[in-house]
């Protein structure tokens, strides 16, 4: 496997412009001749599918939900960043670039991050033109808020439903192209494999989730926009359907998987309430703008929060990080919460929680203002916990939320498998080992609206894919493999449900490969995952037929892939013998518990090549160079 990142040379401000000029174009009349498969209809996939269709390509778009507008992007709450500097507070493309590289703890590719910051402004313009109802000031101008890891206000938002509004805008554009006949949309259709012909990705094999029919689609290029893999932890803030199948199956066909151990544990989620729990709910990070995080100073203090006097509270983020305070980046805020709970100072059931208190903000601004800013989040909190956050502080705890790792892509967003492009959360680019708040929506839309539509044209113009259809024997062969795997899943006919395996894997990953990792925990995970996988293939029970809607079968297939992927993820965490961003190795910390990077040995992206055994992948490295933002110890103090 060759890693050529294709990073343009020259001054960083000009790289993307120069590259756009140098890339070959496809003549408008020839665009109709090219077809593209886009798997995923979230912000990344939806924006790419619509834009590619506008340019004249023939697009086939797939998602497993019943409609493209339900992709998991819809759940994003807090906002989307852009270097508009509307607040006149010193923001710039360079500052957004700088914050993102530093926030990512120097494990991302500078050129990609710079480009992301450059196109960020155009995203907001585009969304407003589509009718996205962003929050406004009384004078009619767009409003902004600040988010963790930044000292400027550059986050655009639509109440606590920014993802929903962006996705509805993007979906509207997609609908327009569907109506025009330029996009053919296939909802309730799950991609189960990639088809490679003559070394290039030329199609996918899918299952119709309503009829169970296995069929395939061919195209000149395949784009994966299938989101992240946080559900490897079972309990996460992701939607129930999120999974690793698409990227894992592509990995098995030759796409390198980069940094799978980089996962983001979000500091502000509602703590788990019991064993029945099926998912965790995020409370937007924007709450940290006005809420203050604290725990009692004394371990084991069981008094109600209102009974604990000011002097006996520890506002630990404000104490430890005076310049960022409650807006410290996510990895730092999460770890601090774990530290407080590990020291016995946690609150709520099981002592796994910390307070997020709005008392002072309500006193200062009034309940009305807080309600206007966060009303829907407060309601959601109350519905779930039966507690009123206007009266008592919220209880929060970290939960798996986002995955910075993903399929490796070059500057053109193409994976190591020619023709296979990867965008949005599914790829590894831009966020290094820790993503800053409000940057995922920005990245998904940057990839889909403003990057891929250019780079894919260059791929067509230079590779000139030959016409091909699904009668090709390779399509038939992969279809057979997919059919056989489904038959095997049903044939096991054991005693345990797919969900019980998923839960067990999730617990194992959370304990051993979660917020803090050690050689010991990782080795434990690595010995246990293959056993669990074996148990799965001996004892899983999938009832119901294959030629009908069968939710147990869908889940079983996804769990089977997670069980393979988890092993590569733990391997990656073991091999990366340093702490950086969200990857915290207990062996590598400063005396005050901060992550300690090892730039000498680990200033690279680790890219795994599939070998047939998920526990023994081949390691490749893309060295990372920091020409502009110089390597430094990240400090938010």
């Amino acid at each position: 496997m060759q890693l050529d990142a294709k990073i343009p040379s020259g001054p960083i401000e000009q790289r993307w412009d120069d590259h756009r000029f140098e890339m070959k174009l496809v003549n408008p009349a020839n665009k109709r001749k090219h077809s593209v498969i886009v798997v995923g209809s979230g912000l990344a996939g939806g924006s790419a599918a619509a834009t590619l269709a506008e340019l004249g390509y023939r697009v086939h778009c797939f998602c497993f939900q019943d409609t493209p507008r339900r992709a998991h992007s819809i759940a994003a709450q807090g906002g989307i960043n852009a270097a508009k500097n509307y607040q006149n507070d010193g923001d710039s493309v360079y500052r957004l670039f700088y914050d993102t590289v530093k926030g990512g703890d120097f494990r991302s590719r500078e050129s990609n991050v710079y480009r992301l910051a450059q196109v960020s402004s155009a995203i907001i313009d585009q969304c407003v033109a589509q009718g996205v109802p962003f929050a406004r000031e009384y004078g009619g101008q767009l409003a902004n808020r600040s988010f963790g890891g930044a000292q400027v206000s550059r986050t655009f938002y639509a109440r606590g439903q920014t993802g929903q509004q962006l996705l509805l805008g993007c979906y509207a554009g997609l609908n327009r192209q569907i109506a025009l006949g330029n996009v053919k949309m296939y909802p309730r259709t799950e991609m189960l494999d990639v088809v490679v012909v003559d070394g290039a990705a030329r199609g996918i094999v899918v299952r119709d989730l309503v009829t169970g029919r296995i069929w395939s689609a061919a195209a000149d290029a395949v784009v994966l926009a299938t989101g992240g893999y946080s559900n490897v932890f079972y309990l996460s803030t992701n939607a129930k359907g999120c999974n690793v199948t698409a990227t894992w199956r592509a990995h098995r066909r030759g796409a390198g998987f980069a940094n799978p151990c980089y996962t983001q544990i979000h500091p502000t989620c509602i703590p788990q309430s019991g064993e029945h729990q099926s998912k965790l709910t995020l409370m937007s990070e924007s709450l940290r703008n006005d809420g203050r995080v604290w725990v009692p100073k004394e371990p084991g203090d069981k008094r109600a929060p209102g009974q604990i006097p000011e002097a006996e509270r520890d506002y630990y983020l404000e104490r430890k990080y005076p310049s960022f305070g409650n807006l410290a980046p996510r990895d730092i805020a999460s770890r601090s919460a774990k530290e407080a709970c590990d020291a016995g100072r946690g609150v709520g059931p099981g002592g796994r929680g910390v307070f997020l208190d709005f008392r002072d903000a309500i006193q200062r601004l009034g309940k009305d203002v807080i309600e206007m800013r966060y009303g829907n989040l407060f309601e959601m909190y109350q519905r779930i916990t039966d507690e009123d956050p206007y009266q008592v502080p919220m209880r929060i705890y970290p939960a798996p939320h986002y995955t910075m790792g993903g399929l490796w892509v070059d500057y053109n967003l193409m994976s190591t498998l020619p023709g296979l492009h990867v965008i949005g959360e599914a790829n590894f680019s831009d966020h290094g080992s820790n993503r800053l708040g409000a940057s995922a929506l920005m990245q998904g839309l940057a990839d889909g609206y403003f990057v891929l539509p250019y780079t894919i044209g260059h791929y067509f113009a230079t590779h000139k894919p030959k016409p091909l259809d699904t009668d090709h024997e390779e399509f038939k062969r992969v279809e057979r493999e997919v059919e056989e795997r489904i038959a095997r899943l049903i044939a096991v006919d054991g005693t345990r449900t797919p969900d019980s395996f998923h839960r067990e894997l999730g617990k194992l990953m959370w304990n051993d490969v979660g917020m803090a990792r050690s050689e010991k925990s990782l080795k434990h995970a690595l010995s246990r995952i293959p056993e669990l996988r074996e148990e799965f293939w001996k004892d899983v029970r999938v009832l119901g037929g294959r030629s009908e809607m069968n939710t147990a079968l869908e889940h079983a297939g996804r769990v089977a892939d997670l069980l393979e992927f988890a092993e590569t993820m733990a391997t990656d965490a073991l091999v990366r013998d340093e702490s950086c961003g969200g990857h915290f190795r207990e062996e590598h910390q400063t005396p005050d518990g901060e992550a300690k990077r090892d730039d000498e040995n680990y200033c690279h992206a680790t890219v795994w090549e599939y070998t047939g055994d998920p526990g023994k992948p081949n390691e490749h490295r893309e060295p990372l160079e920091f020409e502009y933002v110089h390597l430094q110890t990240r400090s938010y103090k």
Partner: protein
């Protein structure tokens, strides 16, 4: 708590379907409604019976994928709450709960509790967008939009497209959904150039999908998990009359 559940089972669109009774024990009041169904499914699969199919994804009340008519009410007894956000503390120990799919001619049952709501997508494809391509948009602050208008647009845009309004309506009308979508763009300057064409196209697509007429029962507003106001229906009717007159 212990519960008796009467659940709709239907093998496929052509099957007649029937209610099936199951008993579930020791459910914590902190369990969500869908987690309760997960537990039922685990129990069923343990007994060698196929799981009940139901739609869900985000479980945060935002994707609009969950549905269900619970004791005769779309999304169940709690006001402004989706099924996935409903918790068992809204019920009592010993309760009997009827669980049925959203029912409407335009929402055929796919299996058990899952229905096909693609008619909504087709209504939106008829005109629920601003015709702009990617690129070339003016600066986002070029056109100021007063906060009140922007808030109105957002009130309408909050619709999650779940279809509860249709399921609750005695006529299975989609007026609340369509008017929210039309209203979102009608309250923004970006939506003006196509305003008349949009409303005409979307209303005729809605009629074509087999949704019923609005007879002002407003059951839709009562069940809407996002509190979409019936006022949008009135606004849309006005726009539609103008469209029908061919004016602007």
């Amino acid at each position: 708590m212990n519960l008796t559940l009467n659940v709709w089972r239907q093998k496929g669109p052509q099957d007649a379907g029937r209610m099936e009774t199951h008993y579930l024990k020791d459910i914590s009041p902190d369990t969500s409604f869908l987690e309760m169904l997960d537990l039922l499914n685990e129990q069923l699969m343990g007994e060698g019976k196929e799981a009940i199919a139901f739609d869900h994804d985000c479980r945060e009340g935002i994707c609009g994928m969950c549905s269900l008519v619970i004791n005769g009410v779309a999304h169940g007894p709690q006001r402004a709450t989706t099924t996935c956000q409903l918790h068992m503390r809204s019920f009592k120990d010993g309760d009997t709960i009827d669980i049925e799919p959203f029912r409407a001619r335009a929402f055929p049952v796919v299996k058990d509790l899952a229905v096909d709501r693609s008619s909504f997508d087709r209504v939106l494809q008829a005109g629920g967008y601003v015709s702009v391509n990617t690129g070339g948009a003016p600066d986002a602050n070029a056109v100021p939009i007063g906060k009140e208008e922007a808030d109105k647009a957002m009130d309408a845009a909050a619709c999650i497209g779940c279809g509860a309004c249709v399921a609750a309506c005695p006529n299975a009308s989609a007026m609340l959904f369509v008017s929210a979508k039309v209203g979102h763009l009608a309250h923004l300057p970006q939506g003006q150039p196509e305003r008349t064409r949009r409303v005409g196209a979307m209303v005729s697509a809605m009629d074509g999908e087999g949704f019923g007429n609005c007879r002002n029962y407003y059951e839709c507003e009562a069940v809407c998990p996002k509190d979409i106001s019936r006022d949008f229906i009135g606004e849309m009717n006005k726009d539609f009359r103008r469209a029908a007159l061919g004016g602007r």
